[in-house]
């Protein structure tokens, strides 16, 4: 079975470490905050200028001046700091964020990522995504393995305009956890009940399959 959105978030959360500063993108990445392992503390960075993002506010707490990068109303945790966009991206570009999780349209075996633009169709802009992928050492891309029409999103070469070049090393899809190394996808883990054959068949780019590919356990 393909992973649910929640299972994707749970699997990503296993990459967290105590004391990590983490930037979570919009969508599935946001859910990761719900699965921080017991006894572990992480601090969420929101690129509009907030370190130490808390949960959504109650009706009484709502404040138009306190939002996250998804423009959602939020709160802060104890130990938070608030700063300018320049300072926020100094943190991001300077490599101070320990883990970045974000979505994508496509990734390829060179570690390229396309996530912000479908020419002639979707021209919204890259927001902070280009800075996030260029600045972070430790990035996990979460995405569906293939489109609704079955077209692979793990490619030899991205077809869409790039968000970043050669910067992605870890991809978690609904079917598998994959690392990118020396111009190939390395199949590291598969979703429960999903066969290596299915994953390979839905992967357009070169994939290396180790002898043993453990199944994820939830």
């Amino acid at each position: 079975m393909a992973l649910t959105r929640e299972q994707i978030a749970i699997r990503v959360a296993r990459e967290l470490q105590d004391g990590f500063y983490v930037n979570l993108g919009i969508g599935i990445p946001t859910l990761v905050a719900n699965y921080v392992p017991e006894g572990m503390e992480v601090m969420l960075q929101s690129e509009n200028g907030l370190l130490g993002m808390g949960q959504f506010p109650t009706e009484d707490e709502i404040d138009a001046d306190m939002i996250n990068a998804g423009k959602q109303t939020v709160t802060t945790v104890t130990g938070a700091s608030i700063f300018s966009s320049a300072e926020s991206f100094a943190m991001i570009r300077g490599g101070h964020v320990d883990l970045t999780v974000l979505g994508a349209f496509e990734v390829d075996t060179s570690g390229n990522i396309a996530s912000y633009m479908i020419p002639g169709k979707l021209i919204k802009g890259m927001g902070g995504a280009m800075d996030l992928v260029a600045g972070a050492d430790n990035i996990i891309v979460t995405m569906t393995h293939a489109s609704k029409h079955g077209e692979s999103k793990l490619l030899t070469k991205c077809s869409l305009p790039l968000t970043g070049a050669g910067c992605i090393k870890k991809v978690l899809t609904d079917l598998a956890y994959i690392e990118i190394e020396d111009g190939a996808f390395i199949l590291k883990e598969r979703a429960p009940g999903v066969s290596v054959e299915e994953i390979v068949s839905k992967t357009e780019g070169k994939m290396i399959v180790p002898d043993h590919v453990p199944e994820m356990v939830f």
Binding site: N48, A64, M66, I82, S85, A86, P161
Partner: protein, 232 residues
């Protein structure tokens, strides 16, 4: 106005001198911390062919979005413009030019503009459409692109509190792009919720020192929320 009293008493006075074809840098992220009334004044003035530098372009009918209604904007320099149907329409019709700029690069371009740094290298955008036509250079084995700074004829900024000297503090995440915008205008106009007595702001905790501020005005704000999310 005399000495260091930056306070003006009308929005007309606040935006006096704005002319067709000028570049205006605006603070704000989404609808948070945007200079609502200064934008409304620009709409009222009907100034045309503006280049607007702002992370976003508001929404239909609010924020910078209102400047699209009478086609006052020639070009937007933004990182994300996805919340605005009129924007998309004008863009696809070729009536509006957009220069998509990564958010961190945009913040840094404003800061650099205000700080006398004409250009800087960043890895952001290397190998992407953003890098087209830009210089590439290697430092310590990694490739970076050269980005030039931005300055504006005007900067329009939303603060929380200020004193008459133009020392400004921002509230919560309404800070965002405002401090950088404030440094990068030939004429910097700040609107705030409250003007406090001289000496009330702690000198060590001023976000925008008065040296960057030319005009200061107190206004009232709608503060529209873009994504109202609550827990129950």
């Amino acid at each position: 106005m005399s000495g260091f009293n930056k306070v003006v008493n009308s929005y007309e006075e606040a935006m006096a001198g704005l002319k067709d074809g000028m570049t205006v840098i605006a603070g704000g992220f989404g609808l948070c911390g945007i200079p609502e009334n200064l934008i409304a004044q620009v709409k009222k003035m009907g100034t045309k062919d503006l280049t607007i530098v702002s992370n976003n372009c508001g929404v239909d009918g609010f924020g910078l979005g209102v400047l699209l209604e009478d086609r006052q904007v020639k070009k937007m320099v933004s990182s994300y413009v996805g919340e605005n149907a009129l924007f998309m329409k004008q863009l696809l019709a070729g009536e509006l030019e957009v220069e998509l700029t990564p958010q961190g690069t945009l913040a840094e371009k404003m800061r650099a503009g205000g700080a006398g740094i004409p250009a800087f290298y960043t890895a952001t955008g290397y190998g992407t459409p953003v890098a087209e036509g830009k210089d590439v250079r290697e430092f310590n084995g990694r490739n970076y692109i050269l980005e030039e700074s931005i300055t504006g004829d005007f900067a329009i900024v939303k603060g929380w509190k200020a004193d008459k000297f133009g020392n400004v503090v921002y509230r919560h995440t309404a800070q965002n792009f405002n401090p950088m915008a404030a440094t990068a205008g030939k004429i910097t106009v700040v609107e705030v919720e409250e003007i406090v007595e001289p000496g009330e702001l702690d000198p060590a905790h001023i976000h925008t020192p008065g040296i960057y501020v030319d005009r200061l005005i107190v206004g009232t704000f709608e503060k529209r929320i873009e994504q109202r999310t609550v827990r129950t």
